[in-house]
Amino acid sequence: MTESVNADPNMKAIPSARAVDTPKGYTETPLWDPFEAFMGPLFDKRIISEEGEEELWMAFRVDDRHLNTRGVVHGGMLATFADATLGSLAWNATGREPCVTLSMQMNFLKGPHEGDLVECRTKLTRRTRSVLFVAGEFFTSGDLIMTASSLWKIIGK
């Protein structure tokens, strides 16, 4: 088991509202945001891609808290997960300087169901002095279900 990308020995994580089994290959992500703990837990792993680059992946297991009235995952839950995952990449890419979301664009391809593991592969597309461009691809069982791209402002820069 590797250490979570967001591990910080000086901060006390907020316990998630539910206990969920950790998916194989992942570790539970310590959460600092009350809203993410309310919807969580979340999980993360770092892998080396075929191109030899380190990639941050995150995941959550769909349960009844995440569904809309049609019984598929609520767009708002996928948006929340995107904000958490792309924000984790931004926060770590800046050496953990505080960042805020400037914009988020999401395309929804397919609706995951209860019990599905939703996984996100994050990518830092561009970094300027004050802004980060971060993209994500989201999968269930290897099928692309959503894409997202986002802008993050480094506070004070």
Partner: protein
């Protein structure tokens, strides 16, 4: 307890909306939709402001309801959602949102809206919804 104005009811109050909300909503005479939610500690980020995911979820709910109203309740799903974060919101305020449909075709609906607190716009959103089963 929340003081619920006349004409408002909890919107799509199951699953996510019930757990995170309730989001109270009303369809206005012009077909636009107005929602409000009382912000709680569970809605915050680590900086003590409204979490971006919460604001996007609230936007998705109000835009989706404007779409649903325009297509008389036919099943639909978000295809794309674009959000810009204008300013942050502190806890203890009533968060409101409104949305209206800008165009409807046979198979898709274009919708726009915003999330606000008092006279401050927090987030602007545009989206395209697919009418399920329509070609």
């Amino acid at each position: 307890m929340t003081d619920i104005p006349e004409g408002y009811a909890p919107a799509w109050n199951e699953g996510f909306n019930k757990y995170v909300g309730p989001f109270y909503g009303k369809v206005r005479e012009d077909g636009s939709v107005h929602f409000f939610v009382e912000m709680r500690n569970e809605h915050l980020n680590g900086a003590g402001m409204a979490h971006g995911g919460f604001l996007m979820a609230f936007a998705d709910a109000v835009l989706g309801t404007a779409v649903n109203t325009a297509i008389d309740g036919a099943p639909s799903a978000t295809m794309t959602l674009n959000t810009d974060f204008i300013t942050a919101a502190k806890p203890g305020v009533r968060i409101e949102s409104e949305a209206n449909v800008t165009r409807r075709t046979r198979s898709v609906v274009f919708v726009q809206g915003r999330v606000y607190a008092g006279d401050k716009t927090l987030l602007t959103a545009t989206g395209i919804w697919k009418i399920l089963g329509a070609k």
